[in-house]
Symmetry: C2
Subunit: 566 residues, 2 copies
C-alpha cells in the first residue's frame, strides 16, 4: 500500500527563490502534501507561506500530537513533516520525534525561531530558554541531521542535506528558520552532493557467496521480516526472495504487516515469550535464520526471551550486515537482497507446519456475555478488510493486536519499540491524511486515550472516519501485570469516553459492556463510513490478552529482580 | 500567602538508608508533600516507595501536565517535583520544565531509567533513543543541575547538591535513578558543602553607599517590583523598603501579585505599550528607578516598548547588581536589600497620582448584553477575595488578567515570560495541592484549553473546586491580532466546552453568551465551593482586551517587519 516517493535530486536552478519557498518545494519533491502543527509568532511568516502553497497545513490541538501524526504520515506516505514555533512548540515535540528516531520514521521538524536581527545584545525574548541555541542543541540529540537556516548562501545546501539524510536514514531531521530569513532569497552556492551509497563490490560478492552457501547447506531455513523492509521500500524484494526460494517467514512485532499475513508461507509472529511457542520453536530450531531489517530490541524480541544463536544467522539491515559472528562493512541492504536473489539459492524445502495454517475460526456472538479482549480480537479478525489500517496504542491494545491477521502490508501501525503511550489517536489522523483510502481501526487503552484524545477533534474537523475502540480496564493495566499489588498510582479517573464526540462536535459514541452491544455498535460503525465512531469498551480490570499474560509473567520477574525487591 | 520552606542542611547521618529513601527524605526537607507524574516500568520501584511514604503521588493524565502542575506547586509552596519514566515520560516533560527554567520555578525532575545491569552490551531497550544518556543530555540544556544516581558512594552528595542548587537558583534540577539503584544503600562518602553565599563586604558597602546617595539625591523615585521577590521570599523586605521610604511602586507582568495591588503606594502595572500610558510615563519620567528582581524580558517590558534610561536605574536581581552603567559583582540580593533598609534612605516624598487611586467601579449587569472580555474582567474584579488565586493562560486570558486587582501577594500565576499555552489548567491542580485554602480562578482561551484540558479530570478526581472560565473566541485570537488576515491556521474546531464535566465525571458546566447568563453561572459557581465549575464564555472572534489591543498594534509592526513582508 505504501509507495515510497522517488528520490529527486536537489533542484539545480532556484535563483530568486526565498529560503521558505525553496523548503516548501523540496518537501513536495519528497511527496509531502501535508504538514502538521500549530502556529506561533516566530513561525507565522512561514505558516503564511505554507497556507499559500499547495501543501496543506493540518492544525492540531497539541504539538506532540502533530509529531505523532507526522510520524504516522511518514510511515504510510514515505516522509512526513511537522511545523511548530520556537521552544514552546519545539520542546513540546521532543517525545514524538524521539519515537520517530527510535523507530526509524522519516519526519522533518521545521521550527520557527527569533529573527537574527532581534538577537543583538542577547535580549530575553519570550519562549527562550537559557540561550538561542537551546532548542537546536536538544534536537541534535533527537535527530539524524539538523541545520539553522541563517545564511542565504548555504540555505539551499543545508535544506538538501537534511532532507536527503532524513530520506536515506529514515530518521527525523531538524530545520530551524529564523523568522526574518523566511523571505530572504537563496544565494547561489555549492550544492549538496549526497555521499556515495555504492556497496563495495568485493565485499558484497564475498558476503553473498557466504550467504548462498549457508542457505544451500541448511536443512531448516526461515526468514524473519522486520520493519526496515517497509521503511526502505524493500518488501517486494523480500517477498521475491521468500517466494523464489519458498522459505517460510515470520515477522517481528515492530515489523507486523510488512508482508501480508495471509501469505501461504507465513508462520506467525516471532517475539520470544510474547509470541506463540510454536513460532518461537520453529524459528529457534532453524539452522539458518535470515533476519531482514529487524530491530534487535527488547520488546521486539519478547524482552530478550528470544533465543537466537548468531552462529546460524544472516542479519542484514540498513546499518549492518552480519553473517554468523562477522561483519561485512559497506554493503547496502538493497544490493545484498538483489544480489542474493540473482544467485537463486536453493535451500531444501521446509514444510509449513499445520499449526501455521490457521483458518479464521467462526465467531459466534453471545449477546449477554461480558466483553473480553481475547474475544474482541477474534471478532475483529472477521472485520478487517484490505482497506483497514490497524493502529494500536501501547499496552494490551498493542499486545492483543498482534493476534490480528493483517491482510495487506503496512496495515499495522504501532510504536512497538519506543512504546510511547498516546500514539494511536494522532497517528490515525496522520495515516488517513497520507492515504485517504485507508480506514483506521484504532485500539487504545484508557490510560493512553487520556493522554492525546483531543486529536479526535481534528479528526472530526476533517471529516475523517476512524473506528476508535477505547479499551477501558480502569487504569494502567500493563503495569498491574508487571508489578502486582493494589497500587493507587495505577488507577485513573473513570471517564464517560463515549460522550467525547459530544464535546468535539462530531462523530458517534457507543457505551458497550456485552458482546451483543459490541456487535450492534461495530455493525453500525463499520457501515457508516462518513464519520468517526468511538466505542467505549468496558473490560474487567484484570482482563488481558494471552500475549500480555505471557509477557507479564516474564517481565514481572525482571522488574522485581532489577528493583532489588527479591 | 507563600511561605518558603526553611533551608535544611544535608542530613548528617543516613547509614542504611537506600538511595530512593534518602531522596524522599530530602524532598520532604524542602517542604515537598506532593509529587506529580505518571508511572512507567523504569520508575515503578521508586513509585512504590513513594506510595509507601508520606509524600503523596498525584497521578496526572500527561507528563507535561505533571510538569506544569509541579511548576505551579513550586511557585506557591516554594519547591515542587515531578516524577516520570524514562524518555517517553522525560522527553514529554521538556517543555514544561523549560518554562520552569525560563521563569525561575524550582522544580525537581525525577526520572527512572534502565537498570545498570540491563545496560551491558548496549542492548536496544524499549523507550531508548540513540543511547542511554540521551535524556540526561537533553536535560542538561533545561536544568541548572543534574545527576545520574548510579553510584552509592556519591548518591547522597549528588542528591544534596542538585536539591541545594534548585533551591538557591530557583531553577529546575534533574535526578535520574536507574531502576536497580532505588533500593541500594547509600554508602558513606564526602558530604555536599554548599558554596558560600556571602556578599563581599566592601563591594556591598560601596554599592549601598551609591544607591543611598542616588535615592536621596533624586526628585522622583519609583520601585519596580519583579517576580524574583516572590521566588526568593523577599517580598517583606521589599515592602519594608517601600513603606519606610514611602516610595511609590509598580510591578512587571511576571511579577504581578508579588505585593498586593490594593496597597496605597501601588501605582499600577509597568509594561510599556502593554500597560496604561500613565504608569509608563510615571516610571519613565522618574530620575531614580529601583528595579527589584525583575526579568528584563520582552513581554515583561511590553515587547521593548518600555523605555528606561539605565543611567537612572538601580537594578538588582539574584544574578546581578547594576547601578547606572556599572556592575557590582558578588553582592547578594537579600544582603543589598537589608543593608539598604538599614541605611534608611530619605527620598523626597512623591505624590501618588490621582489616576492610581482607582476605586473599584460599580458593575451593573446588563442581562441581554453579549459578553466582552473587558466587561468580564470588570465583573471579576468584584469577585476576587483574599483566598482567590488567579491563574491565567497565554493569550488574552493573560493580557486581560493584568487588569484584575490582586488583593494578596502570590495570588496571580501566569507564564508571562515563557508564554507556553496550556499552562493554566494543570497549574490550577498544582496550586491547589500546594495550598488547599486557595481557590483557583482560571482564565484560559479556547486554543490553550484544548492543549491540556484533560487535567480537569485529575482536578475532579481530587474533588478540587476551581472556577474555570473558557474564553472562546473561536481560535488563536492573539495571532489574529499579530498577523491580520483570514488565515485558516488560526481556526480551531469549536467544542462544546461546557460538556467536558460530563466526560470526566464531575463538576458543573455552563454555556453563557450574555451578561445575565454569566452572572447566574458565576453566582452559582462562587457559592458552591465543593466542586469544579467550568463556564464556557462565548466571545466575538474579534473581541479583545484593551491591553491586547495595545500590544497587538505594537507587535504587528514587529512581526511584519521581521518577516520581511514590509
Amino acid at each position: 500500500m505504501s509507495t515510497l516517493p522517488s528520490l529527486s535530486p536537489a533542484r539545480p536552478s532556484v535563483e530568486q527563490v526565498s529560503i521558505g519557498q525553496y523548503l516548501i518545494q523540496r518537501l513536495r519533491d519528497y511527496g509531502i502534501r501535508h504538514v502538521f502543527g500549530i502556529p506561533g509568532d516566530y513561525v507565522l511568516a512561514f505558516y503564511t507561506m505554507l497556507e499559500q502553497s499547495p501543501v496543506e497545513v493540518v492544525g492540531c490541538t497539541r504539538e506532540d500530537n502533530a509529531g505523532f501524526a507526522a510520524d504516522a504520515y511518514a510511515r504510510v506516505a514515505g516522509m512526513g513533516a511537522v511545523c511548530i514555533t520556537y521552544c514552546v512548540g519545539g520542546l513540546s515535540t521532543c517525545n514524538s520525534i524521539a519515537g520517530a528516531f527510535a523507530e526509524k520514521s522519516p519526519v522533518v521538524v521545521i521550527s520557527g525561531s527569533p529573527g537574527l536581527a532581534e538577537r543583538r545584545n542577547n535580549p530575553l525574548l519570550h519562549h527562550m530558554v537559557r540561550d538561542f541555541r537551546t532548542q537546536y542543541e536538544v534536537y541534535q540529540r533527537l535527530c539524524i541531521a539538523g541545520a539553522e537556516l541563517n545564511d542565504p548562501t548555504t540555505a539551499r545546501r543545508e535544506i538538501d542535506r537534511v532532507l536527503d539524510t532524513v530520506y536515506r536514514f529514515k530518521r527525523p531531521g531538524y530545520l530551524e528558520i529564523p523568522r526574518d530569513m523566511v523571505h530572504v532569497s537563496c544565494q547561489p552556492g555549492g550544492g549538496f552532493v549526497p555521499p556515495s551509497e555504492q556497496s563495495d563490490p568485493d565485499t558484497l560478492a564475498e558476503a553473498v557467496d557466504e550467504a548462498v552457501e549457508m542457505i544451500n547447506r541448511s536443512r531448516r531455513v526461515v526468514v524473519v521480516a522486520g520493519v526496515e523492509l517497509h521503511r526502505f521500500g524493500l518488501q517486494d524484494l523480500a517477498l521475491e526472495l521468500i517466494e523464489q526460494c519458498q522459505i517460510p517467514f515470520t515477522v517481528t512485532m515492530l515489523g507486523k504487516g510488512v508482508i501480508r499475513e495471509t501469505h501461504p508461507l507465513f508462520v506467525g509472529l516471532y517475539a520470544g515469550a510474547l509470541g506463540r511457542d510454536e513460532v518461537t520453536q520453529f524459528v529457534e530450531e532453524s539452522d539458518c535464520v535470515i533476519l531482514l531489517g529487524t530491530f534487535m530490541s527488547d520488546i521486539n524480541l519478547g524482552i530478550y526471551t528470544a533465543n537466537l544463536d548468531p552462529g546460524r544467522c544472516i542479519y542484514v539491515t540498513s546499518e549492518r550486515l552480519q553473517i554468523r559472528h562477522h561483519v561485512y562493512p559497506g554493503v547496502q541492504f538493497e544490493d545484498f537482497l538483489r544480489e542474493l536473489i540473482a544467485r537463486r539459492p536453493t535451500p531444501p524445502a521446509r514444510e509449513i507446519p499445520s499449526w501455521a495454517r490457521r483458518k479464521l475460526e467462526p465467531f459466534q456472538v453471545e449477546p449477554q456475555r461480558p466483553l473480553t479482549i481475547t474475544r474482541l480480537i477474534q471478532r475483529l479478525n472477521h472485520l478487517l478488510d484490505e482497506n483497514t489500517v490497524v493502529i494500536a496504542d501501547v499496552g494490551d491494545a498493542m499486545f492483543a493486536s498482534t493476534e490480528l491477521v493483517i491482510r495487506q502490508r503496512t496495515e499495522f501501525l504501532a510504536p512497538a519499540y519506543y512504546t510511547s503511550m498516546g500514539f494511536a489517536i494522532p497517528a490515525a489522523l496522520g495515516a488517513k491524511m497520507a492515504n485517504p483510502r485507508l480506514r483506521p481501526l484504532v485500539l487504545v487503552g484508557d490510560g493512553a486515550f487520556q493522554m492525546t484524545f483531543q486529536e479526535l477533534s481534528t479528526i472530526v474537523r476533517h471529516g475523517q472516519n476512524p473506528v476508535v475502540l477505547v479499551l477501558n480496564n480502569c487504569g494502567y493495566g500493563t503495569e498491574r501485570l508487571l508489578h502486582p499489588g493494589d497500587w493507587r498510582f495505577n488507577e485513573i479517573q473513570p471517564w464517560q469516553y463515549h460522550k467525547v464526540p459530544e464535546v468535539f462536535g462530531g462523530g458517534v459514541g457507543y457505551d458497550v459492556c456485552t458482546e451483543g452491544q459490541l456487535e450492534q455498535a461495530l455493525q453500525q460503525a463499520w457501515q457508516d463510513r462518513d464519520q468517526m465512531h468511538l466505542i467505549h469498551i468496558h473490560l474487567d480490570r484484570c482482563d488481558c490478552s494471552h500475549t500480555l499474560a505471557r509477557l507479564g509473567r516474564r517481565l514481572q520477574r525482571r522488574v522485581d529482580t532489577s528493583s532489588g525487591e527479591e
